[in-house]
C-alpha cells in the first residue's frame, strides 16, 4: 500500500515536472518576448535580470501603432505604415496559400484514395517524397522559373511556392482521413441516388471536416512562419511579410529589441486566433454513429 502510494506520488511528480519543462520550453520565449516588449528602452540594457519590468511601458507598441514616436530621444516617423503593409502581406499570402492548398488536397487526396488509375500509389509517394527535398536546393532554379513567369515580388508567386511546399503534407493527411471513412457510406449514397460529386460534397467532405481543418491549421502556421521564401521572392514592401520585416529593425548602430518583440507579439496573434477559432471544429469522433 505504501509502495503503491509512493509510486503514484513519484509518477505524478514526474508528470508535473515534464509538463512544466515543456511549458517553460514553449511559452518561455513568448513570455520573455512579451516582457521585453513592455520594458522601457533604458531598462532593456540594465545589467540586472528582471522577470517583470520595474515600470511597464507601452512605448514600443506606440512606435508600432502611433503616427509618430520617440526613438532614442528624437521624434521619428512611426513604422506603422510598413508594419501594417507587411501584416497584410502576411495575411494575404498565408490565407491564400491555406485556402488553395486545402482545396486541392481535399479533391486530390480523394482521387488518390477512391479512384484507381495506373501508377496511383507511385505518384502519391513521389508527391509526398518531395517533402524530403531541402528548400535551398530548389531555390535558384525556382528563382529563375519565377523570373520567367514574372512572378517575383507578387503575392501569386509566393502563394504558388507555398502551395507546392505544403500540399504534399496536406495530401498525405487528407488521404489518411479519407481512408478512415467507410466506403459503405458513399455506396449508400450512390444507392440513394446521389452522383459522385454530390456524394463527395454532401457526405464525404462534411465527415472529413476535422482533417480539412487540421490541414488548414498546419498550412497556415507553416506559411505564416515562412522566412526564407519571402526573403528571396518578396524583396519589396509590396509583398514583404512580417517575418522579413521584423529582422530589419536591426540597424547598423542599434538593435531595437523592444520594437522587435512588440512586433513579434502582435505577429503571433493571427495564428493564435486561428487555432483557437478552428479548434472548436476539430472535434474527434465525428464518425461515431455511422455503423454498429
Amino acid at each position: 500500500m505504501y509502495m503503491k502510494n509512493f509510486k503514484t506520488v513519484i509518477g505524478k511528480t514526474s508528470l508535473i515536472f515534464a509538463v512544466s519543462l515543456l511549458l517553460f520550453w514553449s511559452l518561455g520565449p513568448i513570455y520573455w518576448s512579451f516582457v521585453t516588449s513592455i520594458t522601457p528602452p533604458n531598462d532593456l540594457v540594465s545589467s540586472e535580470l528582471h522577470l517583470w519590468p520595474e515600470t511597464v511601458s507601452f512605448e514600443h507598441y506606440g512606435k508600432l501603432f502611433g503616427a509618430t514616436s520617440i526613438s532614442q530621444g528624437n521624434e521619428v516617423q512611426s513604422i506603422w505604415p510598413q508594419f501594417s503593409k507587411a501584416f497584410a502581406n502576411s495575411l494575404v499570402t498565408s490565407i491564400g496559400a491555406t485556402l488553395l492548398t486545402v482545396l486541392i488536397a481535399a479533391f486530390g487526396a480523394y482521387a488518390f484514395v477512391r479512384f484507381t488509375f495506373p501508377g496511383r500509389d507511385i505518384l502519391f509517394y513521389v508527391v509526398v517524397a518531395t517533402m524530403a527535398i531541402p528548400a535551398y536546393t530548389v531555390m535558384i532554379p525556382l528563382y529563375r522559373l519565377m523570373i520567367s513567369l514574372s512572378l517575383i515580388n507578387t503575392h501569386t508567386g509566393v502563394i504558388f511556392i507555398y502551395i507546392s511546399a505544403f500540399l504534399p503534407l496536406a495530401l498525405w493527411l487528407m488521404r489518411s482521413v479519407y481512408q478512415a471513412i467507410p466506403i459503405s457510406l458513399e455506396e449508400a449514397a450512390y444507392l440513394d441516388g446521389a452522383g459522385k460529386t454530390y456524394t463527395l460534397m454532401r457526405i464525404v467532405l462534411p465527415l472529413a471536416a476535422p482533417g480539412l481543418i487540421a490541414a488548414a491549421i498546419l498550412t497556415f502556421l507553416n506559411a505564416w512562419g515562412q522566412f526564407m521564401v519571402p526573403l528571396v521572392f518578396s524583396p519589396t514592401l509590396a509583398t514583404k511579410p512580417l517575418t522579413v520585416l521584423i529582422p530589419e529593425f536591426v540597424t547598423r548602430n542599434y538593435i531595437d529589441y523592444g520594437l522587435m518583440n512588440a512586433a513579434g507579439i502582435v505577429a503571433i496573434a493571427p495564428p493564435i486566433i486561428l487555432v483557437v477559432f478552428l479548434n472548436k471544429y476539430l472535434v474527434s469522433g465525428l464518425m461515431a454513429g455511422s455503423g454498429k
Binding site: 467507410p182 459503405s184 444507392l191 454513429g289 455503423g291
Partner: protein, 360 residues
C-alpha cells in the same frame, strides 16, 4: 416491385474468379436468401446486383431490362448494409429522407413519408437525433427505414443482423419478414446464418466457391439437399455422414455401414457394391428397442451438451464421428453405448466421389 433475372453471371478479380456462372431468377415480391460460408461470393453477388461491383460477364436484368451498365443511383435498388452506413452528420429524419431529397420530392411530402415509415418502425421519438445517439438496434431500424422510405423496386440486405445481440436478432428477423410480406417488395438477403435463411426466405440459394449448389424452398433444401455440401451446411447440428456400400436385391436397397444393414430409399442409378456416403440428420435418430436388426446405429457416446430443451450427444459409430439430438430430458452420459434407429424415408444417399444426391 420487380422480377430479377441473373444469367450466367461471372466476376473476376484479376485472374481469380469469384463468381462462376450464376443463374438465378427472383420472382416479383419474393424473398430470397443467399447463404454460404465466408468468401463464397454471396456479398459480391449482392454488390453486383446493387451496381457496386462491375460484372465480368453475363447479365443482370430487372423486369426484362438489362442493368449491367446502369449506375447504382439509377437502379432504384435500396440496400441495408452490414454496418448500417448511416450518415453520421445527418439526423435520423435526414438519413431517412436523403433519397427523397435527391429525387426532388417536395419537402412536406418527404416529411410525411419519413414520419409514416418512422412510425411503423417505432422511430418517431428519434427523428431529430443523430445516429450516434441511438442504440445498435435503433440504428439498424434507421437503416431499414432509409431503404423503405424510397419504395424501391428491390431490397438488398447484406447481413443486416450480424451486429445485433441474439435476442434482438430474433426480434428483427421477425420484423423484417413481416415488413417484407406487407410491402411485397422483391428482396435479396445475404447471410451466413442458416436459421435466418431458413426462417425468413421463400427460397434460398446456397453458394459455395462462387457457384450455386442448390436453389430451393427451405423445406426442399432441408429435406432433399442436392449434395453433401448442402447437406452438411443446412441443419444444426450438421448431418452425420457415414461411408457405406450399396447393395440391391430383388426386394430392397440397403447400405452396409460398419456391418449394419440400413435400408435406404430406392437408388435406381447405382449398381450393387457401389461405395456411397449415407447421410442421417442428428434429429432423425431415435432410441431403438433392440441393438441388432435393420436400420440400427450403435453409438458410443463420448460427450454430451444440453441446452435445456435439447441434448446433443457426440460420439462414434465404428470409427466415424457422429452427433445426435435428443430431448433435453433424456438421461444420457458419456461412456454410454446406445442403439439408435432411423426411418428409411429420412435417409440421404450421396455419391461417394461427386457428393451428389442419389436417392429421390
Amino acid at each position: 416491385m420487380a422480377k430479377l433475372e441473373i444469367s450466367n453471371l461471372t466476376k473476376n478479380y484479376g485472374k481469380v474468379e469469384v463468381i462462376k456462372g450464376v443463374d438465378l431468377t427472383v420472382e416479383d415480391g419474393e424473398f430470397v436468401s443467399l447463404i454460404g460460408s465466408s468468401g463464397c461470393g454471396k456479398s459480391t453477388l449482392l454488390r453486383m446486383i446493387a451496381g457496386l461491383e462491375d460484372i465480368t460477364s453475363g447479365s443482370i436484368s430487372i423486369d426484362g431490362r438489362v442493368i449491367n451498365d446502369v449506375e447504382p443511383k439509377d437502379r432504384d435498388i435500396a440496400m441495408v448494409f452490414q454496418n448500417y452506413a448511416l450518415y453520421p452528420h445527418l439526423t435520423v429524419a435526414e438519413n431517412m429522407g436523403f433519397s427523397l431529397h435527391l429525387r426532388g420530392v417536395p419537402k412536406n411530402e418527404a416529411k410525411i413519408a419519413v414520419e409514416k415509415v418512422a412510425e411503423t418502425l417505432g422511430l418517431t421519438p428519434y427523428l431529430d437525433r443523430a445516429p450516434k445517439a441511438l442504440s445498435g438496434g435503433q440504428r439498424q431500424r434507421v437503416a431499414m427505414g432509409r431503404a423503405i422510405v424510397r419504395n424501391p423496386r428491390i431490397f438488398l440486405f447484406d447481413e443486416p443482423l450480424s451486429n445485433l445481440d441474439a435476442k434482438l436478432r430474433v426480434q428483427m428477423r421477425l420484423e423484417i419478414k413481416a415488413l417484407q410480406k406487407r410491402l411485397g417488395t422483391t428482396s435479396i438477403y445475404v447471410t451466413h446464418d442458416q436459421v435466418e435463411a431458413l426462417t425468413m426466405s421463400d427460397r434460398l440459394v446456397l453458394l459455395n466457391g462462387g457457384q450455386v449448389e442448390q436453389i430451393g424452398t427451405p423445406m426442399e433444401v432441408y429435406k432433399k439437399p442436392a449434395n453433401i455440401f448442402v447437406a452438411s451446411f443446412i441443419g444444426s447440428p450438421a448431418m452425420n455422414l457415414f461411408d457405406g456400400i450399396l447393395h440391391r436385391d430383388v426386394e430392397q436397397t440397403f447400405v452396409t455401414v460398419h456391418g449394419n444393414k440400413i435400408l435406404v430409399p430406392n437408388c435406381p442409378k447405382l449398381t450393387n457394391g457401389t461405395k456411397v456416403k449415407l447421410g442421417i440428420r442428428p434429429e432423425h435418430l431415435k432410441y431403438a428397442a433392440t441393438d441388432s436388426g435393420n436400420n440400427i446405429i450403435n453409438m458410443k457416446v463420448s460427450m454430451t451438451e444440453t441446452t435445456g430443451a435439447e441434448t446433443y450427444a457426440y460420439g462414434h459409430f465404428g470409427d466415424e464421428a457422429m452427433t445426435i439430438k435428443l430431448n433435453g430430458e433424456d438421461a444420457i452420459k458419456s461412456g454410454d453405448k446406445i442403439s439408435l434407429t432411423v426411418k428409411t424415408n429420412l435417409l440421404h444417399v450421396f455419391d461417394y466421389v461427386t457428393g451428389i444426391r442419389i436417392n429421390n
